[in-house]
């Protein structure tokens, strides 16, 4: 059974009812006197009985008082006494063994139902019923009649008689509460007021009172703390685990991976919720939504509870929630008047969070964009990279501006390009201006779960960019961009910036020099002298100057010319690419063998080296050559043998 669903609720109610029934029956047997409280007991005299399915329908006359004192002859049907149809379940029927003329006492909680066409009122929930014997005479009759089985007419219900749930005449339909006999239980529970215009301000209230079926017209007012995109996983559906449609849905394999716009919202009581909105096919809109929506109040309506998640199960989500805790304004206290607010500094951060989604494809998020930023909103706190590197805690969300110097894609070829992890090397003025102790450049790993917009991807491959990293994760000496981290090109409207404008870099970018602390998968600068060349791996090849195709062929017509089959044209001026491994002696790391590989478009030094080498094929011609400050990516650092393998790179 679904937790929080209607079935579970009915099960609970039914169990309670069953206990109450057996308790009551037991009490009746032991205590034969009529109960003291007679105000809500329904007293009926059965006139006629018939059966429909397993329900026994008794046409009865409602009696004003218990006719204990009357003789059977007095209990005559009079036209003024109201007629009722009392329904009994199979089990109650077996217990009562009622016959026409029997008088039954029906104890609460019975229910009365008025039918549309105002027929005879119907009494239901008659579990607590017992027969009352009028006199000794009838007691004797009871004993004898119990032996003979009474034949009861059974009505067969036509299958053609279906139920119409639409109200044809709403105005004529009377409220049952108006017509009820003064009695404890009312069929229509009017405890919940019409919520069409009511706007609640507590997420927890709404979640607890509405159950998993969803809210319809109820609205909750919340503040949007963060806007981000999450990868939309196909298998992650709510209660639609049922329904497989008969006709095949259009194939989704060819579609690009979908992305879903999500909000992290907080209500006035401090409770958070993650709201999953519609899928976005392109993620260019995220930046716009961030700018327009973050910090504003909004009303959520027509939401459905997808999941209740806890800290242990959703570390990423809770690291973001923790970064927004404690709240910057006092919170409301549930159950107390609006004036009393609680101090939030000592409150523990939340341990659970509801994930909500929209029902039936319609979005019910009314963001008041014109309104001012809410007091509850906590913009991302921007720090310099130097400060971030000095944070001691793990899994902290951090936001910063940084210049992207170099980008490297992970090399797994079976993963599509836009789902590969990206390694970005970034710096800012706080790192560049430091002399000792702190690296000048930091590696930021962007995992596939961090959704990047097309704009950002293109910008990163085009050139050096100043990027705002919002809510990245810091831990174990690394900065990673995961789910809920957002990379933006433009400055968000509101940031808490610590100190000076961190975005401007003064002077050219400097990398850390290669030394004994250099680690693999980092970038550095080096200088040294050529001490050797790996002749076995040195070679050069021509590439097409139009498309860069490295697999040129000989022209079939003229074997002297080169042909590119990607451009379908002859290549008249091919670009020569070279691969060369050069061994350097670097004073900054004198103990290691430094091996630098070049296989891109050659930079200044290598061209000179290569030309010299190719012309002479004499290693002597390059030995001793001085190498200027070369920017490299460190592939590996090994201690036995003591070797550093690098690759010359060009910064963005």
């Amino acid at each position: 059974l679904c937790r929080g669903g209607l079935a579970e609720r009915l099960c609970r109610l039914q169990n309670r009812e069953r206990s109450a029934i057996s308790f009551w029956r037991h009490q009746c047997v032991s205590d034969d006197k009529t109960p003291s409280d007679k105000s809500s007991v329904l007293i009926v005299k059965i006139l006629e009985i018939f059966e429909e399915c397993t329900i026994q329908v008794a046409i009865c006359q409602q009696l004003e008082q218990s006719p204990v004192t009357l003789s059977p002859e007095d209990a005559v049907i009079s036209a003024e006494e109201p007629i009722l149809k009392v329904l009994f379940t199979k089990e109650t029927t077996a217990h009562l063994k009622s016959r026409p003329q029997d008088v039954i006492h029906i104890y609460p909680p019975w229910q009365k139902l008025l039918l549309q066409n105002a027929g005879v009122p119907v009494i239901m929930n008659t579990y607590f019923s017992r027969k009352v014997l009028l006199s000794e005479h009838s007691e004797a009759r009871e004993k004898t009649s119990g032996l003979t089985k009474m034949l009861i007419r059974k009505n067969i219900i036509s299958l053609a008689q279906t139920f119409r749930l639409d109200d044809l005449d709403d105005k004529l339909h009377q409220e049952p509460s108006d017509n009820q006999v003064a009695c404890a239980p009312q069929l229509h529970n009017k405890q919940h007021p019409l919520a069409l215009s009511a706007v609640n301000d507590s997420l927890l209230d709404m979640v607890e009172s509405q159950g998993a079926v969803g809210w319809r017209e109820v609205q909750v007012r919340v503040v949007i703390q963060r806007v981000y995109c999450l990868p939309a996983r196909e298998g992650y559906r709510s209660h639609t685990q049922g329904n497989k449609p008969l006709c095949a849905t259009p194939g989704t394999n060819s579609d690009p991976p979908k992305v879903r716009l999500c909000l992290l919202v907080q209500d006035a009581y401090g409770m958070f919720s993650e709201v999953w909105l519609q899928s976005l096919s392109s993620t260019d809109d995220t930046e716009q939504y961030c700018r327009r929506w973050e910090g504003k109040s909004c009303c959520l309506a027509g939401m459905k509870i997808l999941q209740r998640t806890t800290r242990g199960r959703a570390l990423g989500l809770f690291s973001l929630i923790d970064s927004l805790w404690p709240p910057v304004v006092p919170l409301k206290v549930p159950g107390q008047s609006q004036d009393s607010e609680m101090m939030t500094t000592k409150l523990p951060p939340p341990s659970f969070c509801y994930i909500l989604t929209v029902q039936s494809g319609e979005i019910h998020v009314e963001v008041d964009e014109e309104e001012q930023i809410s007091n509850l909103y906590q913009p991302p706190a921007v720090h310099g990279l130097k400060e971030i590197l000095q944070i001691n805690e793990c899994n902290e969300r951090c936001s910063f501006w940084a210049q992207v110097l170099y980008r490297r894609l992970q090399t797994k070829h079976n993963v599509p390009v836009d789902q590969r992890d990206i390694l970005l090397f970034v710096t800012d003025s706080t790192l560049q201006n430091v002399v000792h102790g702190i690296p000048k450049v930091v590696a930021v790993s962007v995992t596939a779960s961090c959704v990047l917009g097309m704009e950002i991807r293109e910008a990163l491959s085009a050139g050096s960019q100043l990027v705002f990293f919002k809510d990245a994760l810091w831990g174990n000496g690394r900065i990673i961009c995961v789910e809920r981290t957002v990379l933006l090109l433009q400055k968000p409207l509101l940031c808490l910036a610590a100190g000076a404008d961190l975005s401007k870099l003064t002077g050219p970018v400097r990398l850390d020099e290669l030394d004994s602390t250099t680690q693999a998968n980092s970038i550095c600068a080096l200088r040294g002298t050529v001490v050797g060349v790996n002749e076995s791996t040195a070679f050069s090849w021509p590439t097409c100057d139009r498309c860069g195709n490295g697999k040129l062929e000989l022209c079939p017509q003229d074997r002297e010319l080169l042909y590119c089959n990607q451009c379908s044209e002859v290549v008249t001026t091919p670009v020569l690419k070279m691969q060369l491994e050069v061994f350097l002696s670097c004073p900054s790391r004198s103990q290691s063998t430094v091996k630098v590989k070049v296989w891109q478009r050659p930079a200044q030094f290598v061209l000179l080296t290569m030309l010299l080498f190719l012309q002479t094929y004499e290693v002597q011609s390059v030995l001793g050559k001085e190498v200027g400050l070369l920017n490299c990516y460190v592939h590996s650092v090994t201690s036995h043998p003591n070797c550093v393998a690098l690759e010359e790179i060009v910064l963005l």
Partner: protein, 138 residues
């Protein structure tokens, strides 16, 4: 007959309560239990799981498909009370013990609470669904 009118009124009350407050009060749930007996809880469970689909063709013909707990898909007609599940054949048709089976009740409850999934199919596809049932029995 009395029971169908009572059942209909109860379902209308549920629809009304749900439309007003997105909530079904306890007394209506107990009323369901009283009238429909052992079908009530399983039917509500089918609603919780969103197992009911309204299948509609361009001509306007409709039927309902309910995904049972065993994973089997049952077809319920919209013009009369009929379901392809064995319980319907036994309890309703043969023994006249119940008004409906849990699937038909789930269809009504899903209608009342707006929990029906919708599926548009072609005329041919709808016909195939109906004919497929015949083939199974034949």
């Amino acid at each position: 007959s009395t029971l169908p009118a009572v059942a209909e009124e109860l379902l209308r009350e549920i629809k009304k309560a749900f439309e007003e407050s997105s909530h079904v009060p306890d007394d209506l749930l107990l009323g369901l239990k009283f009238i429909f007996g052992p079908s009530a809880v399983p039917a509500l469970d089918l609603v919780d799981q969103r197992s009911v689909t309204r299948v509609i063709a361009p001509s306007g013909r409709t039927l309902y498909q309910v995904l049972g707990s065993s994973g089997k898909l049952y077809t319920c007609y919209s013009s009369c009370h009929f379901c392809t599940c064995p319980a319907f054949g036994f309890s309703v048709l043969q023994k006249s013990e119940s008004l409906l089976c849990k699937h038909i009740l789930a269809v009504y409850l899903s209608q009342a609470m707006g929990a029906c999934q919708e599926l548009s199919v072609s005329e041919e596809q709808l016909t195939n669904i109906l004919l497929a049932e015949e083939e199974d029995e034949g």
